[in-house]
C-alpha cells in the first residue's frame, strides 16, 4: 500500500496544497537487498553424481541478468590458497537484487545454489544492551549523517501526530509528524543503504506501515500513504456501523444472544484511565485515580496514553449503532488509573479499592520486572474476596512476566490471525512460522511458559482511543481484555454462578478459571506453553454450548489460593526447564501443586501433558 497506489497518487497531488512542498515526492518501496550467492557443495550431492554448479558459470549468468548487480566476490585471494583448502573453484558472490528475484533464483537452482540475505550483524555488547534505550549509547562522533524527510498521508490528507521510526544498524531515529504530516529524521553514521526498517505508527484511524530495507531518499520528500482502518473488508463502514473485532468473532461473541450482556457483574480495569468522552465509553462512571490521589481521585477519566480506553472498549464498549461493542456492555465498570507512572504500591492500592468495591473481575494488562511478595499477598487477598484477576502474559517474547507468573491469576497469551491486517502493516511482523488451519498463530512477542492459562486475540485489535477515535494495536494487553469480558459474561450468565454459586470466594474464582479453560477451542500451534488451554469460547463459557473435549474433573480445594512463599515466588521467574526444581520446592514447602486431576487426551504428546500439568498450580 505504501506507494504507487491510486490513493497515494491522489495523496501526492494534495501534498502540494496541504503541506506547501514539491509534489514530486516519492513513495517508499523496498530497496534491493544484498544477497550472498554460492554453488552448494554438499558431499551427498556428489555421492549422487550431481556435480556442483560451476562458480564462473553462475557468475556469468548473474552478470547477464538485468535485475541483479554483482558488487563483490568473496573467497580465496590466491589460487594456491584455494587449492590448499580443496576449493579448486569457489567463493561467494555478493549481489544486489529484490527479494522476489532472490527467491526465484533459489527456486530455479533446485537446491544447487545457496541464496541468502547478507544479514546485518550486531555487537553483542551486554553493557550496551542493558542501558536504557536512547540514553547511554555512544553515537558516532564523526562521519556523515543520513537525513531524510517524510510526509505521512491518509485519505488524501496529512496525518499529524504519527510516530515515525527509522532503524539503522545502531539506535533508531524517532519523530512525530507535525500538522502538515511532516517529520525530518537523522541517523548518524548511516547511509541510505544501511537503513534497515521504517515504521510509521499513526495515533488512530489508520493502519500502521512497516517496510524492511526501505528505499529512502535524502534529497526528495519521502511519502508514506496509510490505509484507513475502514479500508479493511471486515471493518467496512466503520466506525459509523458497529463492528466486532476479529477476535471477538473468533471467540463467537457474534453468536451470543443479545440478552447476554454481563449485567450485574463488576469489572475493574487497572490501567491508564478511561476517556468516558468516547462514544463507546459514555456509560463508564466509576473510578479511582491512584496516581493523583493526593490531589483528586476523580481524574480517572483522563487517559493520556489511551491504553486503558482501548482495553475498556474491548471489555464493555457500548452496544450502539457505531463503534466497537464490548463483550459485556452492561457490566458495571470501575476504572483504576495507574499510568503514567505505575508502581507496585499503586497496584496494591488499586486492588484494595477492588476489594472494598466488591469487584468481580479485574483486568491487568501490565506487569513488572520481578515478582513481588507484597503484591502476591494482595492478589491472594483479592482472590479470597472473590476477585478474579485476568493478567496479560507480557510482550518480551520470553518467560511470562509477573504478575502473569502468579499461580493465583488467569494468564493470557496473545495470538493473531492471518488475513486480519494489511501485509505492509507492523502486525505482519508478529506472525510466527506455525499457522493452523484457521489462520491462527502465536504472536511472536507474546510471553510463554507453563503459567499461560489460555490465549486470546492480541494482534491488530481495533478498539476505542481518545477522544473519539479507534486504533488497531498489538499486545497481550489486548488479549487479556478479551478474556476479562468473557469472564464477566460467564459470571453473569453461567448456571454455576446462580444460587450459592454467586457467593464471593476463592472457590468461585477457581470455578470461573476452570470454566474459561474448559471453554477453549484447541489450537494446533504445537507448543502449548504459548497457548495454554487454547482460545476461550463465549457460548461455552456462558453455558450455551457443551465444553470442548474431555472435561477437567476438578478437585479444586480452597488451599489452591494459598500464598506462595518467597522461594516459590523466586522460582516463578525460572524458565520452563526449571520446573522440576519448582515442583521440588513446592513439595518441600507443602505447597499445592497440580491440585486438579483430569484425564489426559491420548492424542496429546507427552511433552504437552507435562505442560498441562504444570500450568495447574
Amino acid at each position: 500500500m505504501a506507494t504507487k497506489s491510486e490513493s497515494d497518487k491522489a495523496s501526492a497531488a494534495s501534498v502540494a496544497s496541504s503541506t506547501g512542498v514539491n509534489p514530486a515526492s516519492r513513495g517508499i518501496t523496498q530497496r534491493k537487498g544484498q544477497f550472498l550467492i554460492a554453488p552448494r557443495r554438499h558431499p551427498g550431492m556428489q555421492m549422487m553424481g550431481i556435480a556442483p554448479l560451476s562458480f564462473s558459470v553462475v557468475e556469468q549468468a548473474l552478470k547477464e541478468s538485468p535485475d541483479i548487480q554483482i558488487i563483490d566476490r568473496v573467497g580465496p585471494k590466491q589460487v594456491v590458497g584455494a587449492l590448499g583448502t580443496g576449493m579448486q573453484e569457489g567463493g561467494v558472490l555478493v549481489a544486489l537484487m529484490h527479494e522476489d528475484k532472490a527467491q526465484a533464483l533459489a527456486r530455479q537452482a533446485q537446491g544447487q545454489l545457496i541464496v541468502e540475505r547478507d544479514q546485518p550483524l550486531q555487537l553483542h555488547d551486554v553493557s550496551y544492551l542493558q542501558q536504557p534505550p536512547l540514553a547511554n549509547c555512544n553515537l558516532p562522533a564523526a562521519g556523515a549523517a543520513f537525513s531524510a524527510e517524510f510526509v505521512v498521508m491518509g485519505k488524501g490528507q496529512p496525518v499529524a501526530g504519527a510516530e515515525v521510526y527509522l532503524y539503522g544498524s545502531m539506535l533508531p531515529a524517532q519523530g512525530v509528524t507535525d500538522a502538515q504530516g511532516r517529520v525530518r529524521l537523522m541517523l548518524f553514521g548511516e547511509t541510505a543503504a544501511s537503513v534497515r526498517k521504517l515504521y510509521v505508527k499513526p495515533r488512530a484511524d489508520f493502519w500502521s506501515f512497516y517496510q524492511m530495507q526501505p528505499d529512502i531518499s535524502d534529497t526528495e520528500l519521502n511519502m508514506v500513504g496509510l490505509r484507513a482502518l475502514s479500508d479493511w473488508p471486515s471493518l467496512k463502514n466503520f466506525p459509523q456501523q458497529q463492528q466486532l473485532t476479529w477476535g471477538q468473532r473468533a471467540m463467537r461473541l457474534d453468536q451470543l444472544p443479545n440478552t447476554f450482556r454481563g449485567q450485574g457483574v463488576r469489572v475493574a480495569v487497572i490501567d491508564s484511565g478511561c476517556a468516558n468522552t468516547h462514544p463507546d465509553l459514555t456509560q463508564v462512571s466509576r473510578g479511582y485515580d491512584i496516581v493523583n490521589k493526593s490531589i483528586s481521585t476523580a481524574t480517572w477519566n483522563v487517559d493520556t496514553l489511551a491504553h486503558g480506553s482501548h482495553c475498556t472498549g474491548l471489555i464493555a464498549g457500548l452496544d450502539s449503532a457505531g463503534g466497537i461493542r464490548g463483550f459485556a456492555p452492561d457490566a458495571e465498570i470501575h476504572v483504576c488509573k495507574l499510568f503514567p507512572g505505575g508502581q507496585v504500591s499503586q497496584l496494591i492500592d488499586a486492588l484494595e479499592y477492588c476489594i472494598e468495591q466488591q469487584i468481580d473481575v479485574v483486568n491487568l494488562s501490565l506487569g513488572g520486572a520481578e515478582p513481588s511478595e507484597a503484591l502476591e499477598q494482595q492478589i491472594v487477598r483479592a482472590k479470597q474476596a472473590g476477585i478474579a484477576c485476568i493478567v496479560a502474559a507480557g510482550n518480551s517474547g520470553g518467560i511470562v512476566q509477573y504478575p502473569g507468573s502468579s499461580p493465583n491469576v488467569l494468564t493470557v497469551a496473545a495470538i493473531g490471525r492471518v488475513n486480519e491486517f494489511p501485509a505492509d502493516s507492523y502486525h505482519a511482523q508478529t506472525v510466527t512460522p506455525v499457522v493452523d488451519a484457521n489462520g491462527f498463530f502465536s504472536a511472536i512477542f507474546s510471553c510463554y511458559g507453563p503459567e499461560v492459562s489460555v490465549c486470546a486475540p492480541g494482534v491488530a485489535i481495533t478498539s476505542s482511543v481518545p477522544e473519539q477515535s479507534y486504533a488497531a494495536w498489538d499486545g497481550t494487553s489486548m488479549a487479556a481484555p478479551h478474556v476479562t469480558g468473557l469472564a464477566a459474561l460467564a459470571l453473569a450468565h453461567h448456571p454455576d454462578f446462580r444460587g450459592s454459586g454467586q457467593m464471593r470466594s476463592a472457590a468461585r474464582v477457581e470455578r470461573l478459571f476452570q470454566i474459561i479453560k474448559q471453554s477453549r477451542q484447541p489450537l494446533m500451534l504445537g507448543d502449548q506453553r504459548r497457548t495454554g488451554f487454547g482460545l476461550p469460547d463465549t457460548l461455552r463459557a456462558v453455558g450455551l454450548a457443551a465444553p470442548q473435549g474431555l472435561p477437567i474433573t476438578a478437585t479444586t480445594a480452597p488451599g489452591l489460593s494459598a500464598l506462595m512463599s518467597l522461594p516459590a515466588l523466586q522460582a516463578l521467574r525460572m524458565g520452563y526447564s526449571d520446573l522440576p526444581t519448582l515442583q521440588a520446592q513446592n513439595a518441600a514447602l507443602a505447597m499445592p501443586f497440580g491440585m486438579m486431576s483430569f484425564p489426559i487426551p491420548t492424542s496429546y504428546p507427552q511433552a504437552m501433558n507435562t505442560s498441562i500439568m504444570s500450568s495447574l498450580w
Binding site: V344, E373, Q378
Partner: protein, 91 residues
C-alpha cells in the same frame, strides 16, 4: 526476592506483613527515624498490611537482612510497572 544493593542514594520500598500488628509495631519503631519517610499505608484503614517508605538504599539493605532473620516482615523495592501494548515501539 532480589537482594537489595547497599548503594548510595534513596528509593521507594514496600514493607509488608501478613500481621497488621507486626507492621504497626515496626512503623512505630521507625517513626522517629530521620531518614525513613513514610509515604503511604495500604490496606484497610484500621489494619494496613503494606507501607510505602522512602529511605536510603543502605538502610533498606540493612532492613532486608534484619527481616530475613525474623521472617515476619518483608521489604522490597517498589518496582515500576509497564503496560503490555505496542511491542513495536520498543527499539
Amino acid at each position: 526476592m532480589p537482594l537489595i544493593q547497599s548503594v548510595p542514594g534513596r528509593g521507594r520500598y514496600l514493607i509488608s506483613s501478613m500481621s497488621a500488628e507486626k507492621l504497626s509495631a515496626f512503623l512505630s519503631e521507625i517513626s522517629a527515624h530521620p531518614e525513613l519517610q513514610l509515604l503511604d499505608k495500604l490496606g484497610p484503614s484500621e489494619a494496613p498490611h503494606t507501607a510505602v517508605l522512602e529511605m536510603p538504599h543502605t538502610q533498606a539493605a540493612q532492613l532486608q537482612q534484619r527481616f530475613a532473620a525474623l521472617g515476619e516482615i518483608n521489604i522490597e523495592p517498589d518496582q515500576r510497572l509497564k503496560m503490555f501494548a505496542d511491542p513495536a515501539a520498543s527499539p
